[in-house]
């Protein structure tokens, strides 16, 4: 029996019904990782002992007639910026090499409490800074649809592992598109919740006003299932929203009749022809099922990229000050304390992280703050106002997730070229909105294309409802990537 491509929802049902044990699922998954991940490079660490123990505990309780959780038997891979008790957590950086955290992030606690089985930690761009996972200090991760292409980033390991059936679901983080862009590149579903919906406690911080944790899954229903388990108030995160989380599975009605879908003209300028055609088919499919299309404008869209690449590095330069070689991680030899800080950081951080720390320090320094950081935060208000106005006329906004399908390794010649890969995703973070990428077809050369839906704050339910209709109408169905998915 192959469990590899069962949905999380299916897995939970079958484990609860006794059709399969959690132990069987874990053994199959560990075998697959051992057999297939050498071609992909998705995993940085596999926690076989922890996964087997969690599975045995679920099977024991089920056999004894005791309750099991809503994710019982679901194998989960965690992006390596999520702090995990007893399992190496590197954030894709050499500076944290060898660090074994003494606690679990809030989302990890909640997943374990729901009986999800953590099978390991997956690769990402260093400190989640990047759009291709090429910035990982450890290894490249290949796209399972074409190993010459990147899986996207920064949650590239999450998307590649889910697409190739090396876990049932994964958690990523999204600061400017880092869940949605790799999900689009790998043909899976990626959801960034509303800012504040999911606790950031125990997430290695990149840009605190933008970071959110969210699910990467093979189906929209699974995204709802995993989000349900991790969402909700956590007093340990000062920006966690104390708002009720609705029953998300109930939102998946398959009905979009009367739903108003906004198409912002600014997102339909420069893009690949296959992407343009796929989004047009997606819009048509929604209209055929009763949705209305509303043409609209988000006039400050072109300012999102420069605003984001000032705000995110500024916050990163502050957040990453903690990596100084004192309390954990690597330490470089030096004669005095200041030199120790500088040498530890110089040796431990990779080129993109250094670039962003420098950029952020530049933007925040005395005399430049008003011209850069404050200006960018004012522009951010303008971008938010654009969305507030747009959502008076529509319920969700439809755009491409990315301008092109997955690009080749080394294809982006300059740092700024790489930043442009996020051009359609980062406004959502600046405005704090929920966003989802759902597969909407393959390009002419067989690479997945993602449709992005953006919703009103806290309205993940409508987003998921619309996304599931897109999935049913123009999704990939049973098509699997050549790596991992071959029969």
């Amino acid at each position: 029996m192959s469990f590899a491509f069962w949905s999380a929802a299916d897995t939970v049902r079958r484990v609860a019904a006794g059709e399969v044990t959690a132990a069987q699922i874990v053994e199959t998954m560990l075998e697959r990782i051992a057999a297939i991940d050498g071609q992909l490079g998705a995993y940085l660490a596999v926690d076989a002992i922890g996964a087997r123990a969690a599975a045995a505990d679920i099977d024991r309780r089920r056999a004894a007639g005791q309750p099991i959780g809503p994710l019982a038997g679901v194998t989960l891979a965690l992006k390596d910026v999520l702090v995990t008790r007893g399992v190496a957590t590197t954030a894709g950086s050499k500076i944290l090499q060898g660090w074994i955290p003494p606690y679990d992030a809030c989302v990890v606690e909640r997943l374990r409490a729901a009986d999800a089985i953590v099978v390991g930690k997956v690769n990402c761009d260093e400190f989640a800074m990047g759009s291709s996972t090429e910035n990982s200090a450890y290894q490249p991760t290949k796209n399972p649809w074409n190993p010459a292409r990147v899986p996207g980033g920064s949650s590239g390991g999450s998307s590649a592992a889910v697409a190739a059936g090396l876990c049932a679901a994964s958690l990523g983080t999204d600061t400017g598109g880092s869940i949605r862009q790799p999900a689009a590149f790998c043909g899976v579903v990626g959801l960034k919740p509303t800012y504040g919906r999911v606790s950031r406690w125990g997430v290695v911080a990149f840009a605190s006003s933008l970071d959110q944790v969210g699910p990467v899954t093979r189906t929209v229903a699974d995204a709802a299932l995993v989000l349900q388990a991790i969402a909700g108030f956590d007093p340990r995160d000062s920006t966690s929203l104390d708002q009720p989380v609705p029953a998300l599975a109930d939102a998946l009605t398959g009905d979009v009749a009367g739903l108003r879908i906004g198409l912002p003209q600014e997102y339909f300028q420069a893009m690949d022809d296959d992407v343009r055609a796929a989004i047009a088919r997606t819009a048509s499919a929604l209209v055929e099922r009763g949705a209305e299309i509303v043409d609209l404008s988000l006039p400050h869209t072109e300012l999102a990229l420069p605003a984001y690449y000032l705000i995110a590095p500024a916050e990163a330069s502050s957040n990453l000050a903690r990596f100084d070689g004192v309390r954990y991680g690597q330490r470089a030899a030096a004669g005095d304390l200041t030199e120790m800080y500088a040498r530890t950081r110089g040796a431990g951080f990779g080129p993109e992280v250094k670039r962003r720390i420098m950029l952020g320090t530049y933007a925040l320094r005395s005399g430049y703050y008003d011209a850069y950081y404050k200006k960018a935060q004012q522009v951010r208000t303008l971008i938010k106002r654009d969305f507030d106005k747009a959502f008076r006329y529509c319920d969700v906004i439809l755009t491409p997730t990315t301008p092109t399908p997955a690009f080749a390794f080394g294809a982006k010649a300059t740092p700024y070229d790489m930043y442009l890969a996020d051009v359609f995703t980062l406004s959502c973070n600046l405005a704090g909105l929920p966003g989802i990428s759902v597969p909407c077809g393959l390009s002419g050369d067989g690479l997945p294309i993602g449709a992005q839906l953006l919703g009103k704050p806290l309205d993940e339910a409508t987003l998921l409802r619309a996304a599931q209709v897109v999935e049913a109408a123009v999704g990939l169905g049973d098509r699997r990537p050549p790596i991992g998915g071959a029969a």
Binding site: L303, D324, R327, G432
Partner: protein
């Protein structure tokens, strides 16, 4: 905006407590200048009456009660320190020892 000088790049690296080798400084000078050039579009935007955003979603920052709560045991918290002595983390001196004009040395 004036072009970024080598001295400015060195100053920023010092502020960031980031040791950069000579070739890194040179590369960084060109890369940062190119990136900052793209940010010029922001300068042209009229933001005279626009407040800076502090939170994307309306929220009141909370303060927790000023009482002690359970936390990591000292041994657990100290376990990952690169160098320690008992319950203390050891770092190189930050103050020049008496009689020396330079900076301190690692004990």
């Amino acid at each position: 905006m004036p072009a970024l000088t080598r001295k400015e790049v060195e100053d920023i690296a010092l502020l960031a407590r980031l040791h950069l080798e000579s070739d890194e400084l040179e590369r960084m000078q060109g890369e940062l200048a190119a990136i900052l050039d793209h940010f010029q579009t922001l300068a042209a935007v009229d933001t005279a009456d626009v407040p800076a955003m502090t939170h994307a979603v309306p929220m009141d920052l909370r303060l927790r009660a000023d009482v002690s709560e359970p936390s990591l045991p000292a041994e657990t918290a100290l376990a990952a320190a690169p160098r320690r002595s008992g319950d203390l983390i050891v770092v190189p001196s930050s103050i020049a020892p008496p009689g020396k004009s330079g900076t301190g040395t690692e004990p």
